[in-house]
């Protein structure tokens, strides 16, 4: 049941309607919990039990942390929670990757063992709900949040359906209190949620799903295309993954908002970023802040000297890459971003152009150059993220940078207009503004025009068969 499906619309309307009829807050929370598990189990029934198990484990760890005062025992408990969570995540996500690498290494050493792999189904959204659940135990250990004594509320915090499959990874401090008292969406909240949901649907169905067949085609045989087509494919994938994931996040946040719940924003026009550091403040915000707060800072952050700072950046980004999937391509993608972040940090420390700052002409020119450079680095890294293998990625880059003309030139009638449209939006819209939040506060005429445009886009240009969201595989 993906957000763009007819069943989800029916399911969501039913949840809204039933919830409205329920007079009792306790009954309402039970209803939301059952609906959330039904939503999750529509993918795979057995995985619902795994979700229940990991949630209950963290709930009891939380209860234990509330009762125990001995710091060593508290530490032991939180380590138990982290090991169990990462153990489950590691087993489902990385076992075959690990076995494959061991097998490959042994083969390279001259041994020839038979192929090893286990028949493991990756539970949908495991990376997201594991990280979300961990925020609770870690913050409880740090005594930053109150213990949740109600298992129902905790299960709802981890399993609440709009965020369950691909985030945003909400913090316990933000979401748990919202289950303490009854929330009802004000009309404005409902309207904002509806608009955000529709904007997300446009991103997914009108842009991402329409360009994906051509992007897939280009990435499937990069050796057959010329430089122009490969550039188009790389830019197309940058657009596809952004519209796919931010579209999903918009629909998740919009669904929650229509019910009166607030989720953290996950994207804020990342391709408008002037630096790679800014990019990571705008791209997958809930993951990047999670990595900052629960990995980079605990590793020492920038408090333990220059070398250690760069090491911490690299380690955080490499693990961030691995979080996306069990493949060296993702690790490499994380590594490239780590290198880019380190270079930016070095540049900021050196700051050779400081004297020129304040000059309008310099600021405009340098701003433009920085934007193009940042976007270029991001697109380059996406090639490693998307390519089928290391060899495919290097072939892609080799042909792209040598601007080969011996392949097929494919001028995609989908990618090129989509790139033009999104580029225009990035030029016209200020990067810190939230269109979906602002329009509902405007006058009727403007709202009618905006909503008509959204509906017309969806009814005329939405792809007929929606593909699953890219981030579901992570």
């Amino acid at each position: 049941m993906i957000f763009t499906s007819f069943e989800y619309v029916l399911f969501f309307l039913a949840v809204l309607a039933v919830r409205r009829c329920l007079g009792n807050f306790i009954v309402e929370k039970w209803f939301l919990l059952i609906a959330s598990y039904a939503f999750y189990m529509s993918w795979n029934i057995a995985c619902g039990f795994l979700l229940l198990f990991t949630s209950l484990l963290d709930y009891f760890v939380g209860v234990g942390l509330g009762r125990i005062e001995d710091q060593r025992k508290r530490k032991l408990l939180v380590v138990l929670s982290i090991v169990a969570n990462l153990g489950v995540l590691g087993f489902y996500k990385y076992t075959n990757f690990f076995l494959g690498n061991v097998h490959g290494t042994l083969s390279a050493m001259g041994f020839h063992p038979s192929s090893w792999s286990l028949d493991i189904i990756l539970p949908a959204g495991i990376s997201f709900f594991t990280f979300q659940s961990m925020t609770y135990t870690i913050e409880t250990y740090r005594r930053n949040i109150r213990i949740c004594h109600n298992p129902r509320d905790f299960l709802l915090f981890v399993g609440f359906f709009p965020q369950l499959l691909a985030g945003p990874i909400n913090r316990a401090a933000d979401l748990l209190p919202q289950f303490k008292s009854r929330v009802r969406a004000a009309v404005l909240d409902f309207e904002i949620g509806l608009v955000q949901f529709a904007v997300g649907a446009v991103k997914k169905l009108v842009i991402s799903d329409q360009i994906s067949p051509h992007v897939d085609l280009i990435f499937s045989t990069p050796g057959g295309f010329d430089g122009f087509t490969l550039l188009q494919g790389a830019l197309g994938y940058a657009l596809q993954i952004y519209c796919d994931f931010s579209g999903y996040s918009d629909m998740a946040i919009g669904s929650a908002r229509m019910m009166g719940f607030r989720f953290m924003e996950n994207f804020q026009m990342p391709y408008s970023s002037v630096t790679i550091t800014e990019f990571w403040r705008r791209w997958h915000i809930s993951l990047s802040t999670w990595l900052r707060d629960y990995l980079y800072i605990p590793l020492g952050g920038n408090r333990k000297g220059t070398t250690r700072t760069y090491l911490n950046i690299m380690l955080t980004m490499l693990l961030g890459g691995l979080w996306h999937g069990a493949s060296w391509n993702f690790v490499l993608w994380g590594g490239l971003h780590g290198i880019a972040l380190a270079i930016h940090k070095l540049w900021m420390a050196w700051n050779p152009l400081a004297a020129l700052k304040g000059n309008v002409l310099f600021d405009v020119t340098w701003g433009g150059i920085s934007r193009v450079l940042t976007f270029g680095v991001v697109v380059l890294a996406w090639i490693f993220f998307r390519a089928e293998s290391w060899n495919a990625a290097t072939e892609y880059l080799g042909r792209l940078f040598s601007w080969r003309s011996d392949g097929i030139r494919l001028a995609s009638p989908y990618i090129l207009p989509a790139l033009g449209g999104v580029f225009l939006v990035h030029l016209l819209v200020q990067k810190d503004r939230q269109w979906a939040h602002e329009v509902p506060t405007k006058g009727m005429a403007l709202r009618i025009v905006a909503y008509s445009g959204l509906i017309l886009l969806l009814t005329c240009l939405a792809a007929t068969d929606s593909a699953p969201f890219i981030y579901f595989q992570f």
Partner: protein, 342 residues
């Protein structure tokens, strides 16, 4: 009071937006000439008096055989009811419109019988109860069932927004409009699906001399990508279309003579989609259908070696003038042999 006012504003703006978007969607259909369905009728070959033969098939049938020559051979006029991109499921619903037919031609191919190509107008022609029972009987996967059954509520949405689910048509129409306006955009070409709507109207043969083998590689790739997306890259022959074909065959053979023609697809299509496993499934499906209606005459034009060339097709599945000539000759030859009891 403020909340009530706000709620009223939301309702008014949503209803107004839906109204404006609906007008826009209808205008788009008119402006871009997008087909929105409807059952069509055509006389494939006139005869003396009312036509007594009925041909059932998709646009491949119209382009693959010269029906006028067939009509002369069988000595009766041939008629056809059609909807764009149709398959046995839709033909079954349409065949009742010609109860007087004494001779029926049922024209199929690996393309038509692929369960994963869904006719855009299915919901308008095939009752939902029949679709549901066929899905149940064929034990179709939930994803596939959902895809097919979701066409029915979409039919209601289309009353308000006729462009829903027709984004390819909108894109092609917009590009054609742009090309007409600029008239210099010579490099662009239509991205319509392989079943060209105008063919179903029986309109013109202006494209029928084109060779798919002459297409530029980028055009081949774009069209192939569209086709792969339309069938989700899958071919299977064990579902509602198979059941509908069985029923058609049973009913047709009870009512009179029945000739089943199996048309070829281009080697390009075969290379892309028809793996040996898929071909095996297709053959098994035909074998079962044949066993189900042993009285029918089966003409396997897909086995005619001369047709196995991209030069005989104007796109991946439709035959051009040359292909039609060879196919018709092969048809007549096999038909005459069958009359002589060979």
């Amino acid at each position: 009071m403020v909340a009530r006012n706000r709620k009223l504003q939301l309702w008014v703006s949503l209803l107004a937006a839906i109204g404006i978007a609906s007008i826009g969607s209808h205008a788009m259909v008119r402006l871009l000439g997008i087909r929105t369905g409807g059952v069509g009728y055509r006389l494939l070959a006139p005869g003396s008096g009312a036509p007594l033969a009925l041909a059932e098939g998709s646009s491949l049938m119209a382009s693959g055989i010269s029906w006028e020559l067939i009509a002369k051979e069988v000595g009766m006029g041939i008629e056809n009811w059609f909807v764009a991109g149709s398959s046995p499921s839709e033909w079954e619903s349409l065949m009742s419109r010609s109860p007087q037919a004494r001779l029926r031609f049922i024209v199929v191919s690996a393309y038509d019988l692929n369960e994963n190509f869904l006719c855009d107008y299915r919901a308008a022609v095939v009752p939902m109860t029949r679709s549901a029972s066929d899905l149940r009987e064929s034990r179709a996967a939930w994803q596939f069932s959902k895809r097919m059954l979701s066409q029915y509520p979409m039919e209601y949405v289309r009353a308000l927004f006729p462009t829903v689910g027709r984004s390819d048509g909108v894109m092609v129409g917009l590009r054609d409009l742009l090309r007409r306006i600029t008239s210099t955009w010579v490099t662009m070409e239509s991205e319509a699906g392989p079943t060209i709507a105008s063919r179903d109207d029986g309109a013109g043969d202006e494209l029928a001399t084109e060779l798919v083998g002459d297409w530029p590689k980028d055009r081949v790739l774009r069209r192939m990508a569209l086709m792969r997306a339309a069938c989700q890259g899958k071919h299977s022959f064990d579902g509602p279309k198979k059941l509908a074909l069985w029923r058609i065959l049973r009913q047709a053979t009870q009512q009179g003579r029945t000739i089943v023609v199996v048309l070829p697809v281009s080697p390009m299509y075969t290379e892309e989609f028809l793996t040996s496993e898929v071909v095996g499934q297709f053959e098994a499906s035909l074998f079962e259908a044949r066993r189900n209606a042993p009285e029918a005459l089966w003409l396997r034009l897909d086995k005619v070696r001369e047709l196995n060339s991209n030069d005989n097709f104007w796109d991946f599945v439709h035959m051009n003038v040359d292909g039609q000539r060879i196919a018709t000759e092969a048809f007549l030859s096999a038909y005459r042999k069958s009359l002589n009891g060979e």
